[in-house]
Amino acid sequence: MNKNIKLLPVVAFLLSICTSVLAVNPVLDIGFVGVTSGPAASWGISNQRSMEAGASLINDAGGVKIGGTTYDINIVSFDDQKDPKRAIAGMEKMAQKGIHYVVGPNVDDGAAAVRPVAEQQNIMYFPYAFPKSLYTKPASNAILGMVANYQSGPAIYKYLKDNEGVKTVAFIAANESDPLSQREGGVAAAELLGLNVISKTVTYQVDTTDFMPVIVPIVKLQPDLLVLSGVAPANAPQLIRSARELGFKGLISTETGQDAQVLMDGAGDLANGFISVGGASTPEIKSAEMDKFVTRYIEMFGEYNDESNTKVYALEYIIATLKANPAAINNVDEFKNTMETFTAPNPYLKGDRVLKYVGMSSFGQKRQISIPLVVNVYNNGKFETLFVAEVD
């Protein structure tokens, strides 16, 4: 068995040579630096796959025309193992390959660590990390690839306060940088809305297997709303199940993307009513383009991952912006200039929503992609859209 597995990469390599020989178009490389192995693999893998599915759709349609040339898109991935040291190495690899546009890293420490390299090597990168220092001046090359929790949090809490009469909130977070920072943002937002935060100190270790003991102190308080700050998709169903089985009656929400199948596997009906942030795959809002994307994703990787929804946009933005200004292909300054004025239609959503860069109010410069804040609620194995909002 061992031998066969070792042969696989060789075969894969040969195949990739064949395909690149057959391709007639010049290739435009787009980078991905993120975590695709180890405990956090699911973040990076769903990210990488959504890029690969997107690229495959483009290539099958004959490539993308930027300036006078039609390019095929190739995704170059680097596994940083969630180690900031490796993330830097990954960024260096991207620079070496002449890549100027990179998606990732997936976590705060990696995103902060690659900043010097990205700025020296003229790489624009799209981290899935929320610290404001990454996007405010003097930082110049990072673009937030999703809605930050300090943006989505207030919207969700306000909606629940107005519509569900939520008055008390409790927060729970993994004892790690990203979730703790997100909890802090969430608490601030809730307090600003005048909600009563009755617990914000419960944390759990990343190696927790059973969440019953973790959740006991919170269930006792019976808050109206329990926020799972920065919860990993693997942990969400277990937290929900434990809370519900212990008799928790209130609402549960999070500001990160989740996967419906994982929720169903792990918590079944107990997960009904769970509120999370999604991308564009719910039937109410998705376009035909989104359906094609999901179909392609399943063709390529066997099973869709709803987390990929939230990560579908970065590649789209990169390509659309390059189309708008072909000079940016090898010049990130051009890219930055274009960002100021860029608009294009959003292919993944029904209606006439647009792609544009935002972030003036949060970062003082346009360093965030504008995507609609889609808030989903889980019901019986699938997500339904609760409401959609715009973020600036």
């Binding site: 070792k6 390599f13 620079a95 976590v107 420490d109 902060a112 010097p116 004892n175």
Partner: protein, 328 residues
């Protein structure tokens, strides 16, 4: 090996890493290798510390803690107290030494797997401490750390301000490899001096060592504090490259990797950590093209390596010729 041929080897080594490697990078245009090799140099410094604790017979899976502590000391000194980077690196090292003496005094009595485990816990403690202290800025880490400034003595500039340099990567490369040369030269000297023999006597039989009058307690603490010093400066310089430090910058995985570097290079050889780090870190880097099979191939190679060369890369014949003196 005669003294003359040793000097020749050393000279060849110096010319290679200070001259030939940068030249090769220059003509091949593989600029990314500067960072890779800089990391190898820094991580091998920390690994050589781990090696020293192995040399006194202790399995150390706690070096990540000191690398992290070193990183934070520099980050705090540079960002909050405006201390020169060049001064804060040795301070970071000494801080780690001092802390390790306090901790070592109680844990160095433990042996074998017990010591290994408690050091593993130490790495976790370091992370959690960084996460809960106000001075380390908790979970949010410290970012936007300035590049190393100018180092001048009596008004003569020895090292220029890094932010004025055209090629920062080359500068970091030189800093890292020159430091690595000093560390390994020192380590070579240490091991081949009487201290090294005493350490070996400790590794083999602590009772006998104390019966011939060796103060094993002090010797253990000295070795451990040197080890932690090296971990501290390795981490300290690293964070000036990333210009940021987080509680997870060095973690359990790193502690285990430091240990693997030592194993892979060979526990009986002073230069084992250097070769081991080069192999492990560079190997992962080269396998990057294999995509999702990267980890599978990487781990298969490690397993094959330990089956074929259970005593490390340097136990290969060709290396052995030049390493006989240190061979156990």
């Amino acid at each position: 090996m005669s003294k003359a041929s040793k000097l020749i080897y050393f000279f060849i080594f110096l010319v290679t890493i200070l001259g030939i490697v940068p030249w090769l990078i220059e003509i091949s245009g593989r600029w990314d290798y500067y960072y890779t090799l800089t990391s190898v140099a820094l991580l091998s410094i920390a690994s050589s510390g781990v090696w020293l604790t192995f040399y006194i017979g202790r399995i150390n899976i706690g070096q990540g803690a000191y690398a992290l502590a070193g990183g934070y000391v520099v980050a705090i000194l540079v960002t909050k107290y405006d201390v020169s980077f060049w001064l804060s690196v040795p301070i970071a090292g000494l801080f780690c030494s001092f802390v390790s003496m306090l901790i070592g005094a109680s844990i160095l009595r433990l042996r074998g797997v017990y010591f290994a485990m408690i050091t593993l816990v130490l790495t976790e403690v370091a992370k959690l401490t960084a996460m809960s202290l106000p001075i380390t800025n908790g979970a949010k880490g410290i970012s936007s750390i300035a590049l190393p400034g100018e180092l001048s003595i009596f008004g003569i500039s020895i090292i220029p301000d890094f932010s004025t340099l055209a090629n920062v990567k080359l500068a970091f490369y030189y800093v890292a490899v020159i430091l690595m040369i000093f560390v390994f030269a020192g380590m070579y000297r240490l091991v081949n001096s009487r201290i090294g023999h005493l350490c070996r006597s400790l590794q083999q039989n602590e009772e006998l060592a104390s019966s011939i009058g060796v103060n094993i307690t002090i010797l253990r603490i000295i070795a451990y504090s040197i080890s932690s010093f090296l971990g501290g400066i390795g981490g300290a310089i690293f964070i000036s490259i990333s210009q940021s430090v987080y509680p997870t910058t060095f973690q359990v995985a790193d502690s285990i990797n430091f240990m693997l570097n030592v194993f892979v290079g060979g526990m009986g050889y002073v230069f084992g950590p250097m070769i081991g780090t080069l192999f492990i870190y560079f190997g992962w880097d080269l396998l990057f093209t294999t995509g999702k099979y990267q980890l599978l191939i990487y781990s298969s190679i490690i397993i094959a390596l330990i089956l074929v060369l259970p005593n490390g890369l340097l136990s290969l014949r060709i290396f052995n010729k030049s390493n006989k003196r240190e061979a156990k």
